[in-house]
Every structure is written in structure tokens, then in C-alpha cells.
């Protein structure tokens, strides 16, 4: 009952039901709706655009496979984001395991994209210098996010970058409210420390 009352606003549900009935084209609507958010979540957590794209594809595929198990206990989007977070965690573990063999510097922050960075280039109204500066700053911030522990990183990304509510984060990560907050505050402090270290003064 509680679930029912929590999900009346799920405007994905109509397409989810279509998919569950076998209309795979209805899934395209859901992909279209959520891909960007999922991509950004994955990208901020991994710091690698290509990896993020892979993760999102895999997440959508496994969502499609297990669509029948979606019981409307949460919003479809929450369910979907949980999948992408889990896929991201798995991918990060793989990367970590791989770098253990290839590179002893495990603690290095994940690489950020250079030339292939997908940030849209502003034209005209923003001076080029500012654009480059901005990109550099972004890269530094991303670097620092990457240096955070996984559990801090995901909370920070979900809350401060994606703007999810505490309730949503609690549902996505399946952790208690208090944990969300304490992790978030530590993550913010750690990120600030990292940025201060890099920029000297903010």
C-alpha cells in the first residue's frame, strides 16, 4: 500500500508495462528519457566517458532482461539508477583489479578524458580563455571526485551533482538515511581538502 502511494507519479510506468507485455520498442522511450542522467552518474563516478557509455549500455540491457522482476516497489527511475550504480561499482572494481597488475599506483585518481571530452563547447558569449579555464577546473574537480572512496563518491555524485533527494539516494543505494548524510558530509569535506590541495586557494 505504501508503495502504491509512493509511485503514483511514475510516468515511466506506462512504458514499463508495455515492455513487460513484450513491446520492446516501448523500451526506447525509457532509454531516451534516462540515458543522460545515467550516463552522467556513471561518468562522474568513473571519470571515463567511454567506460560510462559501456556501463550505461550494460545497465539498460540488464534492466531489460530483468524488467519482469520490476515490482513497482519504487519508481522505475530509482530502480534503473540502482542498476547503473551497481554496474558502475562493478566496473570500478574491475578497473581497480586490473590496475593492481598493470600499475602499482592504485590510489591514483581515475584518468579524465582529454581531447575527447564531451563537454559542449560554448560559442560566442563565453570567451575562449574562460572556456578553457572552466574545463580545467572541471577536470580537477573530477579528479578529486575520483580520488574519493567509492561509497563517498557515489553519495556525492548522487546528491551534489545529480541533485537527488535523500530519500531517493536511500532507495537507490539501499542504505539508511543517517548513513547517506554522514557519508555525504565526509565526502564534501574530503573533496574540499582535495581541491584546496590542488588549487591552494579556492
Amino acid at each position: 500500500m505504501e508503495n502504491e502511494s509512493r509511485t503514483p507519479g511514475d510516468n515511466d510506468i506506462e512504458y514499463v508495462l508495455l515492455c513487460q507485455k513484450g513491446d520492446k520498442e516501448a523500451f526506447a522511450v525509457l532509454v531516451e528519457r534516462h540515458q543522460k542522467k545515467m550516463l552522467n552518474m556513471a561518468y562522474r563516478m568513473t571519470g571515463n566517458y567511454e567506460d560510462a557509455c559501456d556501463i550505461v549500455q550494460e545497465a539498460f540491457l540488464s534492466a531489460y532482461r530483468s524488467l519482469k522482476t520490476f515490482r513497482r516497489e519504487s519508481l522505475f527511475s530509482t530502480w534503473l539508477y540502482r542498476i547503473v550504480v551497481n554496474h558502475t561499482k562493478n566496473r570500478l572494481q574491475q578497473i581497480k583489479a586490473r590496475s593492481r597488475y598493470e600499475d602499482p599506483a592504485v590510489d591514483d585518481p581515475p584518468e579524465t578524458e582529454g581531447d575527447r571530452s564531451p563537454f559542449p563547447m560554448h560559442s560566442g558569449n563565453v570567451p575562449l580563455i574562460e572556456q578553457i579555464e572552466k574545463r580545467e577546473i572541471n577536470e580537477k574537480v573530477q579528479e578529486c571526485i575520483g580520488s574519493l572512496d567509492g561509497e563517498y563518491r557515489e553519495v556525492l555524485v548522487l546528491r551534489d551533482i545529480q541533485g537527488f533527494s535523500y530519500d531517493e539516494i536511500r532507495d537507490i543505494l539501499h542504505i539508511p538515511d543517517g548513513t547517506v548524510k554522514s557519508r555525504l558530509f565526509r565526502a564534501r569535506t574530503a573533496l574540499k581538502d582535495c581541491l584546496v590541495k590542488i588549487f591552494g586557494d579556492l
Binding site: 520492446k24 520498442e25 523500451f27 526506447a28 532509454v31 531516451e32 540515458q35 543522460k36 550516463l39 552522467n40 561518468y43 562522474r44 566517458y49 560510462a52 557509455c53 550505461v56 549500455q57 539498460f60 540491457l61 531489460y64 532482461r65 564531451p118 563537454f119 559542449p120 572552466k134 577546473i137 572541471n138 574537480v141 573530477q142 571526485i145 556525492l156 551534489d160 551533482i161 548524510k181 555525504l184 558530509f185 565526509r186 564534501r188 569535506t189 573533496l191 574540499k192 581541491l195 584546496v196 579556492l202
Partner: protein, 361 residues
């Protein structure tokens, strides 16, 4: 309150997640401590920097890429492979079972098919020739018959002829098929006098019941043994009891039919030992086989050969003609035989005998 503790609570303070009392304490401290004040500012700036991070855009055709993989997935899900092999926990046992069944079946077919294949392999030329020679020769048999040297042929030329007249309609239609087959067997029998009886026996097994009558009708003049009882003369040399084993009876008829019938055949038979075969119905083939072997030895048989086939025991041996009758009597102690008498001419020379032991299984 130490700066460390204050710093720890600053994010919560910024989030306005503290109790009013804690909040008050922090505000007091911040007013006095420039270090902590700076920390608050840095936190705010960090939050701003993070907020200002630009979103990345999905690569072009991202939805299409994902959807094509989804469709692929959906296709394989409904594909033949999945249909056949999923759910595994049901279909794998079924498939395994089917495989075993097929294997067993194949083995059985191979095993039981083997003897029949041997029969099929009989020389086609002989069959053809036999058909050619025999069919036109059939009507002339009764005249040819009388001078035949065989003692078996003499007795009933008239009855045979009469029978042929009595059943004119039935002879032509069935002569083509059954006669041909019988001919084939006869030819083989004559050409290979020492051949194993088992092949013939095999063939008889499958066709014998129907062919008792056929044989009687098709070739009445040829075989005195096959004459129906009504036509049998009282002087009939060896009265045959109505045997419980039609197969055996039919077989014996056919065997005797070979020797006396066609004159051209006689030459081949002359000089080879006379043949006689016994079908013996026993309870246990293997026990009976031992007894038979003993019996054969006691009767002074030579060239004793034993063959086992599909639960049947087949002995071939040569035995002196004088001992045949005695042997036959002994054989009755082992099981029910299909014979009660033997041709007189066999007494004069060595006889090649075949004893087939079979039991109901």
C-alpha cells in the same frame, strides 16, 4: 569546542541538519575562529564548483545503439536456441534421455537387423535365374518326377497331379512371389550344401506360418510331404503328426522339397551327405545345448559345431545314418521335436544334421 569537532560538523551545519543547540555552538565558534570560517567558505566554494560541473551529453545514436542490443537480446530470447535449450532444468534431462533412447534403439536395430541383412545379401543372380528356370518348369514336374532316383519322390505322383488340378486358380498368382523366394532358398541350399542353416531358419521364422499353405498350394506335385492330410496315402512312409511348431513343419517341408523336385537339382545333391534338421522346443536352451552336445558325442557324431544366436542354439554335425533314429529318440528327452520319423534313405549313409534348440522367452 575544538576546531576538529567543529569542522566535522560543518557540512551538516551548511545543510542545516543540526539541532538548534549545535547550530548555536558552531556559530559562536565561527565568529571567533578564522580557520574554521575559511573551511566553511571552502566548503561552499566546493559545492559551487561541483554544482557547476557541466553535464556530459550521450554520444550520438546512443539510444539506437542500446536499442539494437536490446532487440538482439530479445531476439535471442525468442530464438530457436533458447526455445530448444531453455529452461535448461527441463530440457537438458529430456534431451539426455532422448539421446540414450536413440542410442539403445540404434543398438537394438543393429543387433536384430543383422541376420536379416544377411538374408538380403543372398546372391541376386541366383534369384533371377531361379525364377527363370523354375516358373516354366513347374508344370512339368510331375512327369519328371517318377523316374527320379529319390525314394521320397515316388510315392504320390497321382495325388500331386490331382492336387494341381484341384487348385488351378491358386497356383499362378502366388507362384511368382512365394515360389521365387523359395527357389532362392533352395538354390542357395543346393549351391552351398554346407552353409549354415541359420540363415534359412531366420527367413522361415518370419514367413513360415503363412507359407505352410502357400507351399502346399503352389507346388503340390513336387512334395509328397506337403500334401494335405486328406490326400495322404496310408502307405505314407513317415506320418507326420500335426506339429505344434508350424515353423518347424514348414521348414521340413521345404527341406524335403529341395531334394526330389527338379532333376537338374539332383546332381548337386548327390554325393553330399543327406540332411536332416530338428527343431527342438526346450525349456532352457543352454542346458539343453549341453545335453544335446553330450548326445551327439554318444551317437558318434563328427564335426560338431555349435552356434548361439538370439537365444537359440544351433548344432550342426555329421552322424552315421544308422544312428539317426536312435539319436532322434534321445532328442525327445531333451525337448519336443518336430519330427517323428526320418526318411529311409538316410539310413544308408552319413547324415548331416542340424539341431536347433529354441525356448519360449
Amino acid at each position: 569546542m575544538l576546531c576538529k569537532d567543529i569542522e566535522h560538523n560543518l557540512p551538516a551545519y551548511l545543510e542545516d541538519a543540526l539541532s538548534p543547540r549545535e547550530k548555536g555552538l558552531i556559530e559562536e565558534h565561527l565568529a571567533l575562529c578564522p580557520h574554521c570560517k575559511k573551511t566553511v567558505e571552502d566548503l561552499e566554494k566546493t559545492a559551487k564548483l561541483v554544482r557547476e560541473m557541466e553535464e556530459v551529453e550521450p554520444p550520438p545514436w546512443f539510444t539506437q545503439k542500446i536499442m539494437s542490443r536490446v532487440r538482439e537480446e530479445a531476439q535471442t530470447k525468442k530464438g530457436i536456441f533458447r526455445k530448444l535449450f531453455y529452461p535448461l532444468h527441463i530440457k537438458i534431462p529430456i534431451q539426455a534421455l532422448t539421446t540414450v533412447l536413440i542410442a539403445v534403439l540404434a543398438f537394438q536395430i543393429y543387433k536384430f537387423g543383422e541376420p536379416e541383412i544377411k538374408v538380403m545379401v543372398a546372391p541376386p543372380a541366383a534369384v533371377f535365374e531361379a525364377g527363370k528356370e523354375h516358373v516354366p518348369a513347374a508344370p512339368q514336374k510331375s512327369p519328371d518326377f517318377t523316374p527320379a532316383p529319390s525314394s521320397k519322390g515316388k510315392a504320390f505322383p497321382k495325388e500331386g497331379a490331382k492336387k494341381e488340378r484341384d487348385l488351378p486358380a491358386s497356383s499362378p498368382p502366388d507362384s511368382s512371389d512365394t515360389t521365387l523366394r523359395r527357389e532362392r532358398m533352395r538354390i542357395r541350399h543346393e549351391n552351398e550344401p554346407s552353409a549354415q542353416k541359420s540363415t534359412i531358419v531366420e527367413e522361415e521364422k518370419e514367413t513360415a506360418p503363412d507359407r505352410v499353405d502357400e507351399a502346399v498350394q503352389a507346388r503340390p506335385s513336387a512334395k509328397m510331404q506337403e500334401a494335405p492330410k486328406a490326400l495322404r496315402a496310408p502307405a505314407y512312409e513317415y506320418k507326420r503328426e500335426e506339429s505344434a511348431y508350424t515353423a518347424g513343419a514348414a521348414r521340413e517341408k521345404r527341406r524335403y522339397e529341395t531334394a526330389p523336385t527338379a532333376p537338374m537339382v539332383m546332381g548337386a545333391v548327390v554325393g553330399t551327405p543327406a540332411r536332416i534338421s530338428f527343431m527342438v522346443h526346450v525349456k532352457d536352451a543352454s542346458i539343453a545345448a549341453e545335453n544335446t552336445k553330450k548326445l551327439l558325442k554318444e551317437s558318434g557324431a563328427r564335426k560338431i559345431q555349435r552356434q548361439s544366436r538370439d537365444g537359440r542354439e544351433v548344432f550342426t554335425a555329421e552322424i552315421s545314418g544308422q544312428k539317426v533314429r536312435e539319436f532322434m529318440e534321445q532328442l525327445k528327452t531333451i525337448g519336443e521335436t518336430d519330427k517323428t520319423g526320418i526318411p529311409a534313405d538316410m539310413l544308408e549313409r552319413d547324415v548331416s544334421i542340424t539341431i536347433e534348440l529354441f525356448s519360449d522367452r
